[in-house]
């Protein structure tokens, strides 16, 4: 698997015609975008907006962020297996992408879906001010605010939103198909010239307990036994999110921009021999299933002759059990592990010293095993102050902070004291830095 990734950095986005990218400026034709979104009759309305970092803007009802990518050479389609894209194995040939830009899907969750799927919460991204704490505040967006047929059931709603997002993302990616990327990088895992420790990336991935939605591998969302992927498959979008559950900060953008991939690539051939990425689903319902998934993951690592493993996860108290069982199994099999993780997240909605301090009262991890002795903590991301009023709100008008009280609606443009409004969870999109994009952490005092 040999993949050339060509990157078109985006320093500015504007509406205009004809659309295209030149010298860092991306021009989008809003009429074309609207037509693409409305191509599905389940989409009843669309507003198209451009939002930049640094603006006094708040984007709400974020359902997903998609980085436009297109395969220009080699088999398959970027983001394979979803939205009608074929399931052919990706990861070789050439792929073009934009850097610093995403298509953002915004849509207020339908009332019956809010009731049935409590995790389908309202989220927000502040593009400036104390709430601009995540990587999402640094991207440029083409925001599609979508209204759907209100009667759609869950999987249809998800498909309609995602379909619109990927139609638009595809079209934007296609704009540069015939151009030369200003930056290009080759991704491959050739056998190292001298013996190096073999490491495997254990990319544990939450699967939805609600059938038909959730993050998918080539579109496969159900719980399944672990599968081996080449990291290039992930770079080509083989792991993609849904438009339903955005808490705690899952997005399609994050998977193709997973910083663990370039970090391991940078070491391949010099310090380690990277043998692949094992994707293990988490949030199994029974202990027996959790154990099976963990044991099979360990066995795959052993069959790859791995000597080391970098383990990540993407949140959930329940999920942490199989993640820790996996770490325990790896260590007991003689495979040295490091664990990259957020830290006891739910307590910190505001990062004031009193609220941010933690310790024996709130253990940093809900569950652990003694073998987890090499942990990197990405702590938590939270604003230290109340969020200020924002002149511009995109994606909707009001926010619901209590899923049990959907009738209590807060105007999104006003000052928001998240600690008072949200209780023990934060609505800031992406505030769990699961894969270590940033330098924040926690220290013992």
């Amino acid at each position: 698997m040999d993949l050339q990734v060509g990157t078109f950095a985006v320093d500015g986005v504007a509406f205009g015609s004809p659309p295209g990218w030149a010298a860092g400026r991306l021009v989008i034709d809003p009429a074309q975008v609207r037509a693409l979104a409305l191509a599905d009759p389940r989409i009843r309305g669309v507003a198209v907006d451009l939002v930049e970092p640094g603006e006094r803007a708040r984007i709400i009802h974020v359902r997903d962020v998609i980085e436009p990518r297109a395969k220009t050479r080699g088999p398959g389609h970027a983001y394979p297996g979803i939205c009608g894209h074929p399931p052919d194995t990706v990861g070789s040939g050439a792929t073009f992408r934009y850097a610093g830009f995403g298509v953002l899907l915004a849509s207020e969750v339908l009332p019956h879906i809010r009731r049935d799927v409590s995790a389908a919460t309202d989220s927000l991204i502040d593009m400036s001010g104390p709430g601009a704490v995540t990587a999402y505040s640094t991207l440029r967006y083409l925001v599609l605010t979508l209204t759907t047929d209100p009667r759609l059931e869950l999987t249809e709603w998800n498909d309609a939103l995602r379909g619109a997002g990927h139609r638009v993302a595809n079209a934007v990616a296609e704009l540069v198909r015939d151009q030369d990327p200003p930056a290009a990088q080759r991704f491959a895992l050739p056998a190292p010239e001298r013996p190096l420790p073999r490491v495997v990336h254990i990319h544990t991935l939450n699967a939805s307990m609600v059938p038909g939605i959730g993050t998918g591998i080539y579109g496969y969302t159900q719980h399944a036994l672990p599968v081996l992927l080449h990291p290039n498959e992930i770079l080509d979008g083989a792991i993609a999110g849904d438009a339903v559950v955005t808490y705690p900060g899952k997005s399609t953008w994050l998977h193709v921009n997973n910083p663990v991939l370039p970090a391991l690539y940078a070491r391949h051939g010099t310090d380690v021999s990277w043998v692949g990425s094992i994707i293990s689903r988490t949030r199994w319902g029974s202990l027996g299933e959790k154990q099976l998934s963990a044991y099979q993951t360990v066995k795959l690592a052993q069959m790859l002759n791995a000597q080391g493993a970098l383990v990540t996860w993407n949140h959930g108290g329940n999920d942490l059990i199989e993640v820790m069982l996996t770490i325990q199994g790896l260590e007991r099999a003689g495979i040295k592990t490091t664990f990259l993780t957020i830290e006891s997240d739910i307590k910190v909605v505001r990062m004031t010293p009193a609220l941010a301090e933690t310790g024996t009262e709130e253990p940093p991890l809900l569950f652990s095993v003694p073998e987890a002795n090499a942990i990197v903590s990405t702590g938590t991301l939270a604003p230290s102050d109340a969020l200020p009023p924002m002149a511009r709100v995109v994606g909707g008008r009001e926010l619901v902070f209590d899923q049990e009280r959907p009738d209590v609606r807060t105007p999104a443009g006003e000052s928001l004291d998240l600690e008072a409004l949200s209780g023990a969870y934060s609505p800031i999109f992406g505030h769990f830095d699961n894969y270590g994009l940033g330098c924040q952490s926690y220290f013992d005092y």
Binding site: G285, S286, L287, N318, I321, L325
Partner: protein
């Protein structure tokens, strides 16, 4: 939560689908439940079998309450 009740001297039998979690958190008497979604039963069984299973699990809990323990101990359930 069970530890707070035990602190007052009232024994607690925790029925959990994930005993390692309960035991690591310090629950002293733990009964193995079925699955997170249906800890005390199994909707896939016939109503009679499901109720019998539930009785077995609850019975194990009552047995646990009548047993002296020194540290977190697992009692078989269904």
């Amino acid at each position: 939560m069970s530890k707070e009740i035990e602190r007052l001297g009232i024994p607690v039998a925790v029925i959990s689908a994930l005993p390692p979690l309960a035991m690591q958190a310090g629950a002293n008497r733990v009964v193995q439940g079925v699955k997170i979604e249906h800890v005390c039963g199994d909707p896939a069984l016939s109503p009679e079998a499901d109720r019998a299973l539930r009785r077995q699990i609850v019975g194990a809990g009552l047995r646990a309450l009548q047993t002296d323990v020194q540290n977190p101990t697992l009692f078989g359930g269904g």
